[in-house]
C-alpha cells in the first residue's frame, strides 16, 4: 500500500515537474554586457525575441551590420587579421569574447491547486490514509548556466546546462550545445544567408520554441508522446513512442533565410530519441580507455536517422517599402516589430524501435529478440500574425505511428514476427495571443488542445499504482483542452514575475481495472506564479 502511495505521489510530482521543467527559457545577459545595451534591444518580454533579436540570432549572435562598432568589450583575437594572408601556412585567425559570455538563470514557483487535487484518493480502500497533496506549494525551479557568442568568421556557439532542476542539483542536464556556421552560402556563391550549418545538440527549428519559451507551462502538443492503447480492457497496440517534438535533436541542421522576414527553411538529420539506451554504464559499450565494456552508451539504438524539415515564409506587411525590407519597421515612435504574417509547415519522420522476446519455433523460452522499427511522422502547419502590440500565433500537429504488433502463431508461446495493426494517431495544437499592455507588462491567453484516443483509453480504469504516463491519469474524453490566461511583468529588464491560471482538462477516477467511475468528472485547475531572473 505504501508503495502504491509513493507511486501516486511520484506521478503527481512528475506531473508538476513536467509542467515546469519543460519550460526552459533564456535571455542572454552576456550580450548586454558585451554590447552595453538593455535586454529590450533584443527581447519584448525575455526571452521572447523582437525582430532585432531574431536578426541578431540569425547573424550568429552578432549585430547584423557593423558589429564591431557596437562592442564595448573588445574580443580577444586568436591571431591578427593579417594572418589571414598567410593561410594555409597559419591557423585562420578567430576571436573569443572579451569576457566569458556566461549567463545564469534562476526561477521559483508558487502554486495553488484546486480542491479536486486529492480526488484520486477515492481509489483507496475505506479507512486507508492516502497521500495529501497540499493546496499551496512552493516549487523550486531551475538554476541554469548558459553561454553563447561568436568566434569570428561567422561561427556562433551556444551551450546551456541545468545545474539544478527542481532543487535537485544532480537532476540537471545538457540543454543545447552546438556550433553554428553562419552564411556558408558565401563560399559556394549562393544568396547571402541561404545556407547555415548547425552541428551538435539542439532544439529543432520549431515554429515556436519550447526550449526558450516565455510561458510557465509548456505547449501540450509539443510534449505529446504517442503511446498506443495498452489498456487490457481494449484492443492493444504495440506503439510505445516516447518521442516528443520538444525534445533535443543530436545531429546536423542545414538552414537558410531569416526569422524576421522572407523565407526560412531548415532540414535536420538527427539521432533517434525514441528509446535510446541510457548513456551510463552500458555493459557492452567499449570504454574510452579501451575496455570491452563500461562505456557511456549510445543515445540512440539505431542507425536510422530521423529527418526534420521546415519551410516558412514571413510576409512583412508594412506599407512603406523601406521599412518592409529593414530588420525592423520604423516609425516616429521608434523601431518596432513589423506587422507581419508568417505561414509555415513542418514534417518529422522517424522510426520508433520496439523490441520483444520471440522464437522462430515453438519453444518454452524465447530464443531471439524481435525488433520492430515502427515508422512515425509528425506534420503540421503554423501561423504567426503580429499587429503592433498584438501577436497571435498557433500551430496544428498530426501524429501518426504505424503499429507493428508481435504475431504469435497458433501453438507458439512467443511471437515469431510482426503484423500490422491499427496506427496510433493523435492531433492537436495551440493558439496563443500575446498583448503588450505596457513595455513591461504582457498578457497572454492560450488554448491547448490534444486529441488522442489511446491516451483516453489508457486512462480508463487506470490505477494510481500503475498510472498511464503523465500528464493525465484519466482524461474524461479523447480530447483534452486547456485554457491558460496569464500575465507577465518585467520588474526590471532582467527580472520577471509571471502568473498563469490553468483551466485543465476534465478527469475522472475509475475503480482500478474497471470502467466504473468513482467520482464525477473534475478539473485540477492550477494557479502558478513564478519569479525568475537572469544575470
Amino acid at each position: 500500500m505504501l508503495k502504491r502511495h509513493q507511486t501516486r505521489v511520484m506521478v503527481f510530482c512528475q506531473l508538476l515537474v513536467a509542467l515546469f521543467a519543460s519550460s526552459h527559457s533564456y535571455a542572454i545577459p552576456a550580450f548586454s554586457r558585451q554590447y552595453g545595451t538593455s535586454c529590450s534591444t533584443c527581447h519584448i518580454d525575455f526571452p521572447k525575441l523582437n525582430d532585432f533579436g531574431k536578426a541578431f540570432k540569425d547573424a550568429g549572435f552578432k549585430f547584423p551590420k557593423d558589429d564591431e562598432t557596437f562592442i564595448k568589450i573588445p574580443p580577444v583575437m586568436l591571431g591578427s587579421q593579417a594572418q589571414q594572408e598567410l593561410w594555409p601556412h597559419t591557423i585562420w585567425p578567430g576571436s573569443i569574447p572579451g569576457l566569458p559570455p556566461i549567463g545564469l538563470r534562476f526561477n521559483q514557483f508558487f502554486q495553488v491547486t484546486s480542491n479536486n487535487r486529492n480526488n484520486f484518493n477515492s481509489q483507496l480502500a475505506p479507512g486507508t490514509v492516502g497521500p495529501f497533496i497540499p493546496r499551496t506549494d512552493f516549487q523550486p525551479g531551475f538554476f541554469s548556466i548558459f553561454t553563447a557568442g561568436n568566434f569570428g568568421s561567422g561561427i556562433a556557439f551556444w551551450v546551456d546546462d541545468d545545474i539544478s532542476v527542481s532543487g535537485a542539483n544532480a537532476n540537471g542536464g545538457l540543454g543545447d550545445a552546438y556550433l553554428r556556421f553562419v552564411n556558408l552560402s558565401r563560399f559556394v556563391k549562393l544568396p547571402t544567408d541561404s545556407l547555415t550549418l548547425k552541428v551538435g545538440q539542439f532544439e529543432l527549428d520549431l515554429p515556436f520554441t519550447q526550449a526558450r519559451s516565455y510561458d510557465i507551462s509548456p505547449y501540450d502538443i509539443y510534449s505529446q508522446a504517442n503511446i498506443g492503447a495498452v489498456n487490457p480492457l481494449y484492443p492493444q497496440q504495440f506503439v510505445n513512442n516516447s518521442f516528443t517534438l520538444a525534445g533535443p535533436g543530436r545531429g546536423v541542421e542545414l538552414s537558410g533565410g531569416h526569422h524576421y522576414g522572407g523565407y526560412r527553411y531548415a532540414i535536420a538529420v538527427v539521432d533517434q530519441n525514441t528509446s535510446g539506451t541510457p548513456p551510463t554504464n552500458y555493459p557492452n559499450v567499449p570504454s574510452a580507455t579501451g575496455g570491452s565494456s563500461g562505456g557511456v552508451g549510445y543515445f540512440s539504438d539505431s542507425n536510422f536517422k530521423d529527418l526534420y524539415g521546415r519551410l516558412a515564409y514571413r510576409f512583412n506587411l508594412e506599407r512603406d517599402p523601406a521599412s518592409r525590407h529593414e530588420v525592423q519597421a520604423a516609425g516616429a515612435t521608434g523601431p518596432r516589430d513589423h506587422t507581419y504574417l508568417t505561414l509555415g509547415s513542418y514534417y518529422f519522420y522517424g522510426r520508433s524501435v520496439q523490441r520483444a522476446p520471440g522464437s522462430l519455433s515453438n519453444t518454452s523460452t524465447p530464443t531471439i529478440v524481435l525488433t520492430a522499427r515502427e515508422p512515425f511522422y509528425r506534420l503540421g502547419g503554423d501561423f504567426d500574425f503580429n499587429y503592433r502590440k498584438l501577436d497571435i500565433y498557433g500551430l496544428y500537429m498530426y501524429g501518426h505511428d504505424k503499429d507493428i504488433v508481435p504475431f504469435i502463431p497458433a501453438g507458439f508461446t512467443f511471437p515469431n514476427g510482426f503484423i500490422s495493426g491499427s496506427p496510433a494517431t493523435f492531433s492537436g495544437g495551440f493558439i496563443q495571443a500575446d498583448y503588450l499592455v505596457y513595455p513591461w507588462m504582457m498578457t497572454i491567453m492560450r488554448w491547448d488542445r490534444v486529441a488522442s484516443t489511446s491516451d483516453f483509453l489508457n486512462g480508463i480504469g487506470a490505477s494510481a499504482s500503475s498510472p498511464p504516463p503523465t500528464p493525465f491519469f484519466s482524461p474524461f474524453s479523447s480530447v483534452r483542452n486547456r485554457f491558460t490566461p496569464g500575465v507577465q511583468i518585467l520588474i526590471h529588464a532582467n527580472i520577471k514575475a509571471s502568473f498563469e491560471y490553468q483551466v485543465r482538462p476534465k478527469q475522472v477516477v475509475y475503480n482500478p481495472g474497471t470502467t466504473v467511475q468513482l467520482v464525477s468528472p473534475f478539473r485540477t485547475n492550477t494557479a502558478t506564479a513564478a519569479l525568475e531572473f537572469v544575470y
Binding site: Y35, G36, T37, S38, S40, T41, F52, F63, K65, D66, T69, F70, K72, E326, V327, Q328, A330, G331, A332, T333, G334, P335, A493
Partner: protein, 192 residues
C-alpha cells in the same frame, strides 16, 4: 562743462561694466561633469548663436552625454549607427508640455531642433533604454562645463551682479548670487 563731465562719467561707467571677467570655482559633492551657467539677466537678451552643435548617436550612446547650449540654439541630431535610433524628451525644464518626439531615422541622417526654452532636456532613445543624454539649455551665453574634479571657469562675463546656477545629473540645482568685478568666485556643494 558740467554736461561734458557727466557724459565722461557715464562713458567710463559703461566701459567698466562691459569689461570681460570670469566666474570660477568648484562644484563638489558630486562626481563627474557639472554645468554652471549665469541665469537670465533682467532686461538683457542675447542673439541665438548661428553654430549648430551635433548630438551624435554612436555605438548605442548619445555623444556627448551632456551638452550645454544657449537658448535659441538649433541642435543637430545625427545617427551614426547602423541601427535605427529615436530621439525624444518628455519635458524641458520639468515642463511636460514641452515634451517632443523627434522620430526615428537610419544611419547617416540627422534631424534638427531649435531649443527656444531654457531648462534641462533629458534625452532618450525609445529603442535602446540604456541610452540617455542631457541638453542643458541656458538663457545666457555665459556657461561652462566643469572638469571631472568639478573645477569650472566661465569666461567673458561682463562685470555685474548675477545669479549663477550649478546643475549636475541627478543632483539638486543650486543657485548663488555672484558679483563679477574682473573675477567672480562661486563654489557649489551639490547633493542628490
Amino acid at each position: 562743462m558740467k554736461r561734458n563731465l557727466v557724459l565722461a562719467v557715464l562713458m567710463m561707467t559703461a566701459f567698466v561694466t562691459s569689461e570681460a571677467g570670469t566666474i570660477s570655482g568648484k562644484v563638489s559633492g558630486v562626481a563627474g561633469e557639472s554645468v554652471v551657467y549665469v541665469d537670465a539677466i533682467q532686461g538683457k537678451t542675447f542673439p541665438a548663436p548661428s553654430q549648430q552643435p551635433v548630438m551624435d548617436q554612436k555605438g548605442l550612446m548619445f555623444q556627448p552625454h551632456i551638452m550645454v547650449v544657449q537658448q535659441g540654439t538649433t541642435v543637430d541630431f545625427l545617427n551614426s549607427d547602423s541601427v535605427a535610433h529615436n530621439v525624444f524628451w518628455i519635458s524641458i525644464g520639468g515642463n511636460k508640455k514641452l515634451g517632443h518626439n523627434l522620430g526615428t531615422w537610419p544611419k547617416g541622417e540627422k534631424r534638427s531642433f531649435k531649443f527656444d526654452t531654457s531648462g534641462v532636456v533629458p534625452m532618450f532613445c525609445n529603442v535602446h533604454p540604456e541610452m540617455s543624454a542631457f541638453i542643458v539649455v541656458v538663457p545666457t551665453p555665459y556657461f561652462a562645463t566643469s572638469d571631472q574634479a568639478g573645477n569650472y571657469k566661465i569666461e567673458n562675463v561682463p562685470d555685474g551682479s548675477y545669479t549663477v546656477t550649478a546643475w549636475h545629473e541627478g543632483a539638486k540645482n543650486q543657485s548663488k548670487p555672484v558679483t563679477v568685478a574682473g573675477d567672480g568666485k562661486a563654489d557649489f556643494t551639490l547633493s542628490k
